[in-house]
Structure formats: structure tokens, C-alpha cells
């Protein structure tokens, strides 16, 4: 790159403006570097849901329970392999602000229904399945509170009181499970249904929703429809979706948030482009005389264009790499300190790829107008401007 020394010399000429321009580029890419990982974490939750699983909810409201005896009727349908059910427990530990994701289900088929979890110790699994008043606890949660197998854990339910009116349920830790995938979150508690159902004061023989594992995902829609038809005109009609579709609809609100972030990013980039394009334009205008002299010395129009473009790309890439590096460090710190979802944050090669694309694109856009102006310039007029 023979013109590099030329470009660097020019950069050192307008230091204040360069610092200002570079600063705005750094800020924009810092923002991009922070937001891209956040956007991706939302996506990873959708990947989590499985097209092979159907969710059967109460059609009237997803908060209303369904009778447990639906289970056997669903199990008889074609394409259905396994039927499980789940109920939100609404647990808090020690203080009401310390909410814990707790779910009630049947320990017998929990490992089959929920493939995202893994019991590495088969004895512990048997132990849990054998003791109806024991719970299975995710590794992250157990570590957080220092729970070990055999410990007694009092959980306060905000939804269900025991038959004596007490909202505090004390369970024994029967097993600790891990995530099947590297980045799964294991911060929940699993409570056996039978014990819970016998002990609770209201809502007997109902469940929150059914999960249905099907053999052929391509027939998911037909199977879902068959389930809903089964309970049509009953007091509790059902609405069946694939888990993926449900997760998506649930995440629509998150989607709105994503749109908001996206819109902010676009606005920031637009501002960045305006700021740098303006600075670039000013700096080019000041050098029209220089370019005229260079043209007289034998520089072709495309040489001048190349210099302007390189200058712009150099600005974007140096500012962009600095900004995204700072973002990478910040994300690293946040993910190390945070729990659950935020601990999944990372700035990886995909983000760098997007970032590099943005740097190249903005570099080209910013250079376009100055390059056209410089190319259109008449040499003699340009020379006159230096007088």
C-alpha cells in the first residue's frame, strides 16, 4: 500500500477532528458489540424449544389448569409417544424476592420428556424417583445455595398451600441434574406430582399443561389438532401448539424488545455515518487543492478515489476494532459475574463478522460522496482554490 504514508500523514494533520470522528466510531461499535450478544441470547432460548414436543394448554387461559385425566386420552392418539404434565409451583426460597423456577411433574418420565437435562448419577435418579417428597435440583441452583443430596429445603409457594394451610413446603434434595448442552441453564427445582397433589389444599387432580412427545414432527400440526378436537365442547377446551411456536409467541414481547434494540442500533449507526461523512467531507474539501496538485503530478482519478476510500475504511476499522474489543471485555466481565441468561453472553466470531461487515459498509458509504466530489473536480479550478 504505497499511499499509506500519505493517508497517515493527512490523519496527523487534523488531529482534533480525527479524534472526534474516531471517538464516534468507537462508541457506535462499542454499542454494537454489546447488543449483538444480547440479541443472540434471546435467539438461543428459542432454539431451546423442541419441535418434537407439543404443549397442551387451557384454551381459555394459559394460567388455568387442565384435568389430569386428559393424559390417558391424549396418549391413545396416533403419533403420540409419551405424555407428561407440568404445573408451576411458584416457589421462593428464604425471602419472597428470591424466586426459584420450580415445576411439578412426574419423576418417572421427566428425564424422557425433558431432554435438556441429564442425570449423571443413576443412583441419585432412582433415589429421587423412589422418594415422593424429594426434589431434583439443577446444578447451578444447588451450587448457589450449597444444597447437597439429603438436605432439607423449605420452599414457599405463592400459589399452593398445604392441607394444613401452610404455604411452606419442605422437601429433601433427592438428586442433582446437569444440563445436556454446554450452555443450558440449570437453576430450577423439579417437584414430584403425586406428593404435591395429595398435599395441596386446592386444585386437586389438575395440571398446568401437558407436554406431548410425538414420533413425527412433520405431523405436529395434525396431532395438535386431533388433541384439541378431543376436548372440544368440554368445560376445559385445549389449545395445542408446538413448544417452539409457543416459545416464539412468548418471546414476541422479547421480539419487540429486540426490534427496539435494532432500531436504536440503526439510529446510532445513521448518526455515526452522518458525523463521519460530514467530517470526511470537510477534510476532503480542504484538500481539493492537494488533489488538484496530485492530479497535475500524474495521479489518476481512481488513485484519488482509492486514497479517499482507504482513509475512510482505515478510520472505520481502527475505530470499530477498538470499540468491539472494549465491548468484548465488558461482555466477558458481565457474563463472569452474572447468572442465568446473562452468563451465556459472549462476543464470538459471528459478532466480529457482522461488525467487520458494518465497518466495511459504513467505510464505503462515508467515502462515496467525497470520492464523487473529488472525481468531479476540475483540476484548474482545484488549483485556483489553493490561492
Amino acid at each position: 500500500m504505497r499511499f499509506l504514508s500519505l493517508i497517515l500523514a493527512n490523519a496527523s494533520r487534523g488531529r482534533a477532528r480525527l479524534a472526534f470522528t474516531l471517538g464516534s466510531v468507537v462508541v457506535a461499535f462499542l454499542l454494537l458489540g454489546l447488543m449483538l450478544p444480547v440479541l443472540r441470547v434471546f435467539d438461543s432460548r428459542v432454539d431451546f424449544a423442541d419441535a418434537n414436543r407439543l404443549m397442551v394448554l387451557n384454551k381459555a387461559s394459559m394460567m388455568r389448569p387442565l384435568p389430569i385425566n386428559y393424559k390417558d386420552r391424549i396418549a391413545e392418539l396416533d403419533n403420540v409417544e409419551e405424555v407428561g404434565h407440568f404445573t408451576f409451583f411458584g416457589a421462593a426460597y428464604q425471602s419472597s424476592s428470591n424466586q426459584i423456577p420450580a415445576i411439578v411433574t412426574e419423576p418417572e418420565n421427566f428425564p424422557i420428556m425433558v431432554e435438556e437435562v441429564e442425570f449423571r448419577d443413576p443412583d441419585a435418579l432412582n433415589n429421587w424417583q423412589a422418594d415422593p417428597s424429594s426434589i431434583a435440583v439443577g446444578r447451578d441452583l444447588a451450587n448457589k445455595h450449597g444444597w447437597k443430596i439429603g438436605d432439607l429445603v423449605p420452599l414457599h409457594s405463592s400459589i399452593y398451600n398445604r392441607s394444613d394451610g401452610n404455604p411452606v413446603w419442605t422437601f429433601r434434595v433427592g438428586a442433582i441434574f446437569d444440563g445436556a448442552a454446554e450452555d443450558s441453564v440449570t437453576d430450577s427445582v423439579v417437584i414430584p406430582y403425586e406428593y404435591f397433589n395429595n398435599e395441596r389444599i386446592k386444585g386437586e387432580d389438575t395440571v398446568g399443561w401437558f407436554a406431548v412427545r410425538i414420533a413425527d414432527a412433520n405431523k405436529a400440526e395434525a396431532t395438535g389438532k386431533a388433541i384439541d378436537v378431543l376436548f372440544e365442547n368440554s368445560p376445559n377446551e385445549t389449545a395445542t401448539t408446538t413448544e417452539r411456536a409457543f416459545a416464539k409467541s412468548f418471546l414476541n414481547q422479547v421480539g419487540d424488545f429486540k426490534t427496539l434494540i435494532g432500531a436504536t442500533l440503526i439510529l446510532v449507526f445513521w448518526t455515526l455515518i452522518l458525523i463521519t461523512a460530514n467530517a470526511q467531507m470537510q477534510s476532503i474539501r480542504e484538500r481539493f487543492g492537494d488533489f488538484a496538485v496530485m492530479r497535475i503530478l500524474g495521479f489518476r482519478k481512481r488513485h484519488i478515489t482509492r486514497i479517499i476510500l482507504s482513509e475512510s475504511l482505515l478510520t472505520m476499522f481502527s475505530g470499530g476494532v477498538i470499540g468491539m474489543t472494549i465491548a468484548g471485555i465488558a461482555v466477558l466481565i458481565v457474563s463472569a459475574k452474572a447468572e442465568a441468561l446473562l452468563s451465556l453472553l459472549s462476543l464470538d466470531w459471528r459478532d466480529w463478522l457482522i461488525g467487520a461487515g458494518m465497518m466495511a459498509a459504513t467505510g464505503v458509504i462515508v467515502a462515496t460522496i467525497p470520492a464523487i466530489l473529488a472525481a468531479r473536480q476540475n483540476i484548474i479550478d482545484g488549483l485556483a482554490e489553493t490561492l
Binding site: 500523514a9 496538485v293 503530478l297 500524474g298 495521479f299 489518476r300
Partner: protein
């Protein structure tokens, strides 16, 4: 006639026999500003011999700069032909013309027109960036050119750190570095004091005599014109109605 004048006369006669280096053949140029037409050159012809040093004088606005731009291939005439060193430059394409002037013409302006961000060295190196010349050789050629104009110890200075005379010498070094045979100087001493002007003209004279450069100098100054072998007087064509 003094002995000195006689010598010049003999040299001049000698040059008449040399081949024409620049041939300007019935060149016309009219500038147009909207509806207004400003005729500047009207079938202007002129021959400059190889190794000649010509002063171009005439009233302000008579077309001296215009003619220089045409000879140097910075602008094109409306009609007529210009041939420089056997190249008919009026027939070259735009790109061809740009490349030609980069290799064959050295320009020296009244206001030096150095790039303010670049050191003297980098300014002189500028025309060499267009060619595939190894860095070491570029360095050697730039040092050489700066030596020739007596500014080797100012190589790292920027234009603003140099006097007008020094800046003009950097500009001359820049014109020399590509080894162009034709130097076109547009009022090269117009912005300089007498001492600096003398030094510049002695330098140009030396380049003409020692290196055989063909030089055209536009000037208002009779003292400057004295350094030339001959003086061309230009007048403005009658303004057409």
C-alpha cells in the same frame, strides 16, 4: 553589444538548429462562462527548441497560464495541435495525458503548491508513488533531488516550517525527481523577495545548462526574463463581439 550578449546570441543561433521540442500549432482556446465566451488563444503557434529556456511575458490575463496548462497537458485546446518531444499530446486520451504529464513534465507554481501535511521529503517523493519503484531507490532519488536544490538538511520539515524560497526549491526538487525533460514554471518568483528569486532563477538556469532541461518561465519580472535565452511576448486576441 557586450561580450556576454554576443555569447547569448551565439548560443541562441546554435539552438535554432536543434530539433523542436515543443510545437504549438495554431492552438485556440476559449473559456465559456455561461453565455459569455472569453477567447484567450486564437490560432497561437510557437516552437520551443530542445534545451531552450524561454520567458513568456505579457499583460495579466493574456493567456500565459492557459498556454502553460495546454503545453503541460493539464488542459486541452479547442482546436490546434501540440506536440512535445514527438508525442502529439492533443491526441492522447484523458488517462494517457495524465500518465504522460506525470512522466514528462515538471510543474512549478507561483505558490509552490506543496502538500501541507507532508514533509519536504514526502512532497518530493509524491510523483514517484505512481510507479513501481523500490523504496530504497525512491529514497535515493528524493535525496538526490533535494541535494540538487540544496535542501538535504530540510528533508523532514513541513512546508510551513520553510521559507518561501525554500518551499519553491522543494517544488523544483519535486519537478526533477521523475527526471522530466520539460519544466513549466508559472511565475516561480512572483511571491519571493529579490534574493530568493535570484537563487531560484540561478537554479533553473543551472538545470537548463547542466541537465539540458527545456524550460518555460512565465514572468512579469524583467530581471527574471534575463535568465532566459529568449522572450516570447504574448498579447490577448481581439475580443470577438
Amino acid at each position: 553589444m557586450t561580450v556576454h550578449d554576443t555569447e547569448i546570441a551565439i548560443q541562441a543561433a546554435d539552438r535554432q538548429d536543434r530539433p523542436a521540442f515543443v510545437q504549438i500549432d495554431r492552438v485556440s482556446k476559449t473559456y465559456r462562462k455561461g453565455k459569455l465566451a472569453v477567447p484567450v488563444l486564437d490560432r497561437h503557434s510557437m516552437i520551443i527548441a530542445q534545451g531552450d529556456m524561454v520567458a513568456l511575458v505579457g499583460a495579466s490575463g493574456c493567456g500565459k497560464t492557459t498556454l502553460l496548462n495546454l503545453i503541460g497537458g493539464v488542459d486541452r485546446p479547442d482546436t490546434g495541435e501540440i506536440t512535445v518531444d514527438k508525442t502529439r499530446i492533443t491526441s492522447l486520451s484523458d488517462a494517457g495525458l495524465t500518465e504522460w504529464r506525470g512522466q514528462n513534465v515538471g510543474f512549478i507554481f507561483q505558490f509552490y503548491n506543496l502538500l501541507p501535511a507532508l514533509s519536504a521529503h514526502a512532497n518530493v517523493e509524491l510523483p514517484l508513488l505512481l510507479h513501481d519503484i523500490p523504496k530504497a531507490e525512491r529514497r535515493a532519488r528524493v535525496d538526490n533531488a533535494l541535494n540538487l536544490v540544496g535542501l538535504q538538511d530540510r528533508a523532514s520539515h513541513r512546508p510551513e516550517e520553510l521559507s518561501g524560497g525554500q518551499q519553491q526549491r522543494v517544488a523544483i526538487a519535486r519537478a526533477l525527481v521523475t527526471d522530466a525533460d520539460l519544466l513549466l514554471c508559472d511565475e516561480p518568483t512572483g511571491d519571493l523577495d529579490q534574493d530568493s528569486a535570484t537563487r531560484i532563477m540561478e537554479l533553473l538556469s543551472m538545470l537548463n545548462q547542466e541537465f539540458g532541461k527545456t524550460i518555460v518561465v512565465v514572468t512579469h519580472d524583467p530581471l527574471v526574463a534575463e535568465y532566459a535565452h529568449r522572450t516570447e511576448h504574448m498579447t490577448r486576441p481581439e475580443t470577438a463581439a
